[in-house]
């Protein structure tokens, strides 16, 4: 078990390093921060001085090495725009993003899983068809379209809720719904097919054949088995808590990590972009690690070494 954990941890670190390296190279090849942050007609000496100050005049490999050296000592760099530590800048935005993504995750779980289970248990009924219709609609409509639609109806037409900003809880309602609906739809479809798969298994028939009442068959025999594939998707959703709201934050002018990322990329504010991507990779990878550990808890066939 310890060996397994150490191996997984090493792989997780490698994944994060690869993501950050990729971002590092692409960002530097795709635009010059000096020209974007200074104005285009700035004197060449000033641009050169800017590059020197941020180490952009050095060869790429040396920038790369010193960047990783700094990370190792806990320094994630400073923003080129306002000179503050990137980690502080990003850290300030995290609560705002979580204020959207955590309630949205609860909607996804609370709506998606029960809907999927219900649809599977009443396969081909009108309620199954309705759930699946809504689910297909929910995940084919892109979030910016859904967001704008909600703004049109609830902000512009009905005037019930504000269309953007972050002044009160009412401002969070539409972005949370926009985020939650798509995920709930994905989860509903996934839960349904996982349940249908399990309900067709021979051990479900065995349970009925030994006289287990249907409600208990579903609860004790079908759900624990259907949870195994579903956990993968949920892990993915938990992993995207930090970065999953880029589009929605932009649509609703919500000052979270996602909007910071959009602005930082546009400005080639290298340290900030890299810091966000590092954070995103780290959450995604940790969520995956937790999922792997959960697999072992849910499915005895995947348990390593422990059992007789």
């Amino acid at each position: 078990m310890l060996r397994f954990l150490v191996l997984r941890l090493a792989r997780a670190l490698l994944t994060i390093a690869l993501v950050v390296s990729f971002a590092f190279v692409v960002l530097r090849l795709s635009g010059d921060p000096a020209l974007l942050i200074m104005s285009v007609d700035a004197p060449p000496e000033a641009v050169a001085a800017f590059r020197r100050a941020w180490g952009l005049d050095e060869p790429l490999w040396r920038q790369y090495l010193s960047y990783f050296g700094a990370i190792a000592s806990g320094d994630l760099g400073r923003s080129m725009r306002d000179g503050r530590d990137a980690i502080v800048l990003v850290g300030e935005r995290i609560p705002a993003t979580l204020a959207l993504t955590v309630p949205a995750l609860l909607i996804k779980l609370g709506l998606g899983i029960p809907a999927g289970i219900h649809a599977a248990l009443h396969r081909n009924s009108w309620s199954d068809r309705l759930v699946m219709l809504l689910a297909v609609a929910g995940f084919t409509v892109p979030s910016f379209v859904l967001g704008l639609l909600l703004v049109l109806v609830f902000a512009v037409q009905l005037g019930w809720l504000p269309s953007g900003g972050q002044d009160s809880w009412r401002h969070a309602v539409l972005p949370i719904i926009t985020l939650g609906v798509g995920g709930a739809a994905v989860l509903a479809r996934f839960t349904r097919s996982a349940m249908l798969e399990v309900l067709g298994q021979s051990y479900i028939r065995t349970a009925s054949a030994k006289g287990v009442p249907w409600a208990q068959v579903v609860r004790n025999h079908a759900l624990p088995n259907a949870a195994i594939p579903t956990v993968t998707i949920i892990g993915f959703m938990v992993g995207s808590l930090i970065a999953g709201a880029v589009v929605v934050e932009s649509v609703f002018s919500w000052p979270g990590v996602g909007r910071l990322l959009v602005v930082a990329v546009a400005n080639r504010d290298l340290a900030v972009v890299q810091c966000i991507l590092l954070l995103v990779a780290a959450t995604m990878v940790s969520a995956n690690l937790v999922v792997d550990l959960l697999y072992g808890a849910l499915d005895p066939r995947l348990r390593r070494g422990g059992s007789r």
């Binding site: 065995t206 054949a209 030994k210 006289g211 009442p213 624990p224 499915d299 005895p300 066939r301 059992s307």
Partner: protein
């Protein structure tokens, strides 16, 4: 004959409009061992799954299933849950997939003990261990905490049998219980089923496509073809001389143990699709003895001797 333990009357099963089981009439006496034989797809498993309400909702089951005189077909779920496992238990072909992979074996047996005998906690565990010992699982106490994937197919089938016995049923329906197992293990499981039946006085329905298996275990044989019973007789009588051409063909396809080596006789053709049965006798297109009358209408099941019925115009004459 004493009052039957279970009687199927006119039991029919249809899927999506295609009838796969056509009016099965069958009675099982208490303690009797009945063999149901036929090719895959002839309806022998579906008959029993349908009788016990274990088919998916889209299956249409009609007719009557009386357990000690009381109708159980389409009975209330609570009634069926008491019958299934408590009075009629069923075990299946592939024990590895018939057991829930995420629950410990002991827990799966104890679930049946709780439902049918109200046992819980230490009492249930002790009884589960006794059942494991009874079906010959070595090191029973430790196996209670194992998961299905940690045991061999034969051991898992023993667990299935232990689980079936947990409710002290009067009838055990064993659906191809040895098909997925090695030959040596097959023999052990059959011996176990016979021993348990003697010991517990339980009736047994053994569903199999293997005539050898049925010959070894059963008192009476029912042969099914394309969803109908085509011959039924006491085992000794049947194996001395099957009368229906299909049953005779099955016997002729078995390799003889002595005498010169001769090519095995296969029955030509294949089982007709349920939706496309021939108008008369379902077996007529493959039958060496057919004549024009065979295609006119489905023959009745007729006695040729006491307790020996066949569904054939030619051989009954």
């Amino acid at each position: 004959m004493t009052a039957p333990l279970l009687r199927l009357a006119g039991l029919s099963v249809a899927f999506d409009g295609a009838t796969v089981v056509h009016g099965i009439d069958l009675a099982i006496a208490p303690g009797e061992a009945l063999g149901m034989v036929g090719e895959s797809g002839c309806g022998k498993s579906v008959t029993w799954l349908g009788a016990l309400g274990l088919l998916p909702d889209k299956a249409r089951v009609a007719g009557s299933v009386r357990l000690a005189g009381a109708e159980i077909l389409h009975a209330a779920p609570a009634t069926l849950d008491r019958v299934r496992g408590g009075r009629v238990a069923m075990i299946f072909q592939d024990p590895a997939s018939a057991l829930n992979p995420v629950h410990r074996l002991g827990r799966q047996v104890q679930e049946a003990l709780r439902l049918h005998r109200g046992l819980a906690g230490a009492a249930a565990r002790a009884e589960a261990k006794r059942l494991f010992d009874l079906v010959g699982i070595p090191d029973a106490a430790r196996r209670l905490d194992a998961f299905p994937h940690e045991l061999s197919g034969g051991q898992n089938q023993r667990v299935m049998i232990a689980m079936a016995l947990a409710g002290q049923p009067e009838l055990l329906v064993a659906d191809e219980p040895t098909t997925a197992l090695d030959v040596t293990i097959q023999a052990q499981i059959l011996d176990l089923l016979q021993a348990l039946r003697r010991e517990l006085g339980m009736a047994l329905v053994l569903i199999s496509h293997d005539l050898g298996v049925v010959a070894e275990v059963c008192d009476r044989v029912v042969v099914m073809y394309a969803g109908r019973i085509v011959e039924q007789a006491a085992a000794a009588r049947f194996f001395a001389g099957p009368r229906h051409p299909y049953a005779a063909g099955l016997m002729a396809a078995l390799p003889p143990l002595d005498g010169p080596r001769a090519p095995l006789l296969a029955i030509p053709g294949g089982v007709p699709e349920p939706g496309a049965l021939p108008p008369g006798c379902s077996f007529a297109p493959r039958c060496p003895q057919r004549d024009a009358a065979c295609q006119a209408g489905v023959p009745m099941l007729r006695p040729v001797a006491a307790g020996h019925d066949i569904r054939c115009l030619r051989s009954a004459a």
